[in-house]
Structures are given as C-alpha cells and as structure tokens.
Amino acid sequence: MSEVKYSKEHEWIKLEGDVATIGITKHATEMLGDIVFAELPEKGSNVEKDGTAGVVESTKAASDVYTPVSGEVVDTNQEIVDDPSKINQDPENSAWFFKLKIKDKSEMDSLMNKDDYDKFAKENNT
C-alpha cells in the first residue's frame, strides 16, 4: 500500500513505483469555493519541486497549483479541465491533476503525513 503525503501548499501526492499522482486537498477546495477553471501542465514537460504546475480558478480568484516533487509529466486528467466542478466533488480521488515520473524519491521525505497535514490545515485556515 502506498502512503499519501501532503504539502504545505495543499497538494496531495500518492507514489506508486516511480509514478506519483498529484492533486489538491479537500481542505484546499473548501477554501477556494466553486472551482470553475483548471489548467494542467503539458504532458512530457518537466516540473520542478515547489514550482508552478497548474492553475485553478474559483468564481472569486485564480490560484497556482504547485508540484511537491520534481519529475516528468506522464499523464494529466482532462476530465477536470472539461468539468472543473469535479474537483470540488472528489478532490482526493478521481479529480487528480497530473502524474509524474519522479526523479528523486527523497523529495517525498519533507512532506507531511495525513495527521500532520490535518493539523496544519486546521491551524492555517485561511
């Protein structure tokens, strides 16, 4: 079983082999409100840890999506681009954003586990 980890920018990441699936947390969607637009990185592009890898927009504002680890984008979820409301409905499962072939598994070490993230989210409720 693979463990899900979390970043301070409210992304979740699930590692299976050397492929990581990344999305935004339920807490993030609750803060954003209704998501009406999503932009994903291009397949085949390389993204760097803590760099911008997409955008989500609510009716109110745009927010960057960051990648918690570095890697090559091997897949993106077109379904959330076509219907961004899916991100609000199922953020930590079917509404994943992109998959990365990661370079350095040790980048995962600094990320939070679920308990730590839940605590972090509660304390940073803005």
């Binding site: 209704d34 637009f37 927009e57 009716t59 109110k60 504002a61 745009a62 681009v81």
Partner: protein
C-alpha cells in the same frame, strides 16, 4: 474605527457565511452552498442580498432642491414622478465618475442609494455642492435588503401585500409588522426584484420570514457574478474617476433634455464626447475558451498592439463560461471584433460582444 456589522450579521453567521471585509463592513461573500448555487438559485428562484452597507441618503426639500440637484445630476428630475427611480452618477467637473447611484423621488425630497465605499465622500461632496441648504441624512438606522429572482415578487407579496403591483424602477411605502418600509422594484442582478429599506431592528425578522417563504441568502460573490452577467458596472472596477459616463457606455442614463441645456457638472466634457466621440469605451468581452480574464488583464488587437484592459472578469454560472467587461480603443469596440487577452503570459482569443451576457427579465420597460 473597527469593521462594522450589519443588522443581519447574526443571521449570516447562523447561515454559515464566509465573511470578507468590504468597504469597512463584515460582509458575507458566500454561504455554505457556494457562489454558483446561490447564483443559480437567484436566477431560477429567489435570492436575498444584504446590501445594508450601501448608503441611504435622504435629502429633504422641494422645488429648489430639484433645481439644485439638476445642477449635479444629468437627469430630468423635475419630470421624475413621485416614487420613480433613475440610475445616475455623481461626476466631477471633468465628468469623471465619483460614484454611480439610484435616485428616487419621495414625498419629502429624494432618496439616493450610494455605494458603500463612496458614501461618506459622496455625502461630503453633495453637502458642499448644496451649500448646506437642505437637511441631508445618511441614514445608519436603516438596513437595505434586496430580494432578486423570478419568485421574489410572489414571496415578498406574501409578507408585504401590494408589492407585486410595483413597476420596475418605482417604489412606495408599505407596512411590514406595522412598520413603515420603503420598497422599490429594482436591483442589480439582471432579475426582477425588490430593494427594501427597513429599520435595523426589523431587518432580521423580515429576512428570516423571506427565508421561511422559500427564498435563500446569497452573498457578495453571487451578487458579483450576477451583475457581471447582466452587464452592470461595479464602481471602483468598471467605473472610476478616470472614466466618464460616455466612455462607460452609459449615455442612455443621461437625459437628452439636460444635454441640450448643458448646465450640470461635467456637461462640457459630456457634450464634447457625445459630439466628437471617445478614444476608449466599455465593452463586453467573451473569451473563446474557458480561460477567465480578471481585472487588469491586458487586451491586444490582432496585430498584437495593446488596446485596452479588462475591468471585471469572472466565470458566469448561467452563461456557463467566462465573461468579462473592459475598456478598449474605440475602433476595436464593434461587436464580434477579435481580440486577445494576456493571461499568465499567454494570449487567448476573445470576442467583443454586446451586453448583457444574460438576458434580463424585468417587469415592464426600463424607460417609463
């Protein structure tokens, strides 16, 4: 001075509002169902908006007041019937817009509804212009509750008998709970609806009863998407001191009779712009894809020349796509002109379009 609360603050809390500070007030941006649901419920049913932060300015006077106000507002006020309302603006001598407003002729004078962020400054300006000749009250004892959407007439009429017979942009005094309330058939969502001016102590009760009759609270977030779909301007964004009513494409709100006389503040510039045209003008802009172009987004023509800027942009839940307004150079303002919007460093195609994005359903004509 701390952030103010409206009389409905407790009710907003009871309904799980998310608050933002807006013009010095704690205001609900949305409730638990979210902006999109609140927007759609208003369009399909009935939404209630707390707009008590807006200024309710009463100016008391008769014939002389009408003459003095005509020196300020480009309106034919002497022919404005009792209880009828007009949209207008407070301009400076260069015709720059200092605020946009709704003015209503009431028994004792006029009631002017002002934007929250402008109301104190407006009061100062008007007091000076009117040389303190008239009693003026920026009434903090009254709340302003808007109920908007196709079911609003039926719902409000159950509590306040007779409101269903009001025409659009007209009002009257009614009784609620044996208290005098002043209700106009108006609003800022593109829907049929009413604005209720009511003493603070009764605002909570009225609103809870409206909710019991099936209406639902909607926040400032939904108010913004609704007004933008309806092509209506938001002061501080689509309108400001650097824009004139002609540039803002609001010349319909300037009385033709008053233009011919040209004796109001800013009239020189207005007349000049009406005759010679303007260099920039407000237009509707529809992005071709799903990209949302926010305020300050740069607009380019097909030759990649910078021709303007977005002043309001969001996702329109009823249009089910992005919508925006902005100012472009006049020669690019024709409907269906292709333009490009620079969002996050990339350019996206969009088209100039006519407003509103969403068709109004007011009761009877705007011009009466």
């Amino acid at each position: 001075m701390g952030t103010k609360k409206t009389s409905l603050y407790q009710l907003h809390q009871d309904c799980n509002a998310k608050f933002v500070e807006f013009a010095g007030y704690h205001m609900p941006i949305q409730y638990s169902e979210g902006i999109v649901e609140e927007h759609k419920f208003t369009r399909n049913h009935s939404g209630i908006f707390d707009v008590s932060h807006m200024g309710q300015l009463f100016i008391y006077g008769g014939e002389e007041l009408i003459k003095d106000l005509e020196k300020i507002f480009p309106l034919d006020l002497k022919n404005l019937k009792l209880n009828h309302s007009k949209y207008s603006f407070l301009m400076d001598k260069d015709a720059g817009i200092q605020d946009d407003l709704i003015i209503t002729k009431i028994d004792e004078g006029f009631l002017i509804i002002l934007n929250a962020a402008c109301k104190d400054n407006d009061f100062k300006i008007l007091k000076e212009l009117l040389k303190e000749k008239y009693k003026m009250v920026l009434d903090e004892n009254r709340s302003l509750i808007a109920i908007q959407g196709p079911k609003s007439s039926q719902i409000l009429n159950e509590l306040v008998d007779g409101v269903k017979d009001l025409n659009f942009m007209s009002g009257n005094c009614f009784l609620f709970d044996n208290q005098k309330v002043y209700i106009t058939r108006s609003g800022y969502t593109g829907e049929d609806g009413f604005e209720i001016s009511i003493l603070n102590n009764y605002a909570d009760k009225l609103t809870r009863e409206l909710i019991n009759k099936g209406s639902k609270l909607a926040g400032l977030g939904a108010r913004d998407t609704l007004r933008l779909e309806a092509g209506l301007c938001l002061y501080g964004h689509d309108l400001d001191k650097d824009k004139t009513p002609v540039e803002a494409n609001l010349k319909w709100a300037i009385s033709k009779e008053r233009i011919s006389k040209g004796d109001f503040i800013g009239s020189d510039i207005i007349i000049k712009q009406l005759n010679d045209g303007v260099t920039k003008i407000r237009v509707g802009i529809k992005p071709e894809g799903r990209i949302i172009a926010r305020e300050k987004t740069k607009i380019f023509n097909q030759s990649d020349v910078h021709i303007g800027e977005i002043t309001s942009g969001t996702f329109g839940p009823s249009v089910n796509g992005p919508v925006a307004m902005g100012y472009v150079e006049n020669e690019f303002s024709k409907k269906n002109t292709k333009v490009f919007l620079e969002v996050r460093g990339k350019k996206y195609a969009a088209n100039i379009c006519s407003l509103p994005f969403y068709k109004k359903s007011y009761v009877k004509g705007v011009n009466q």
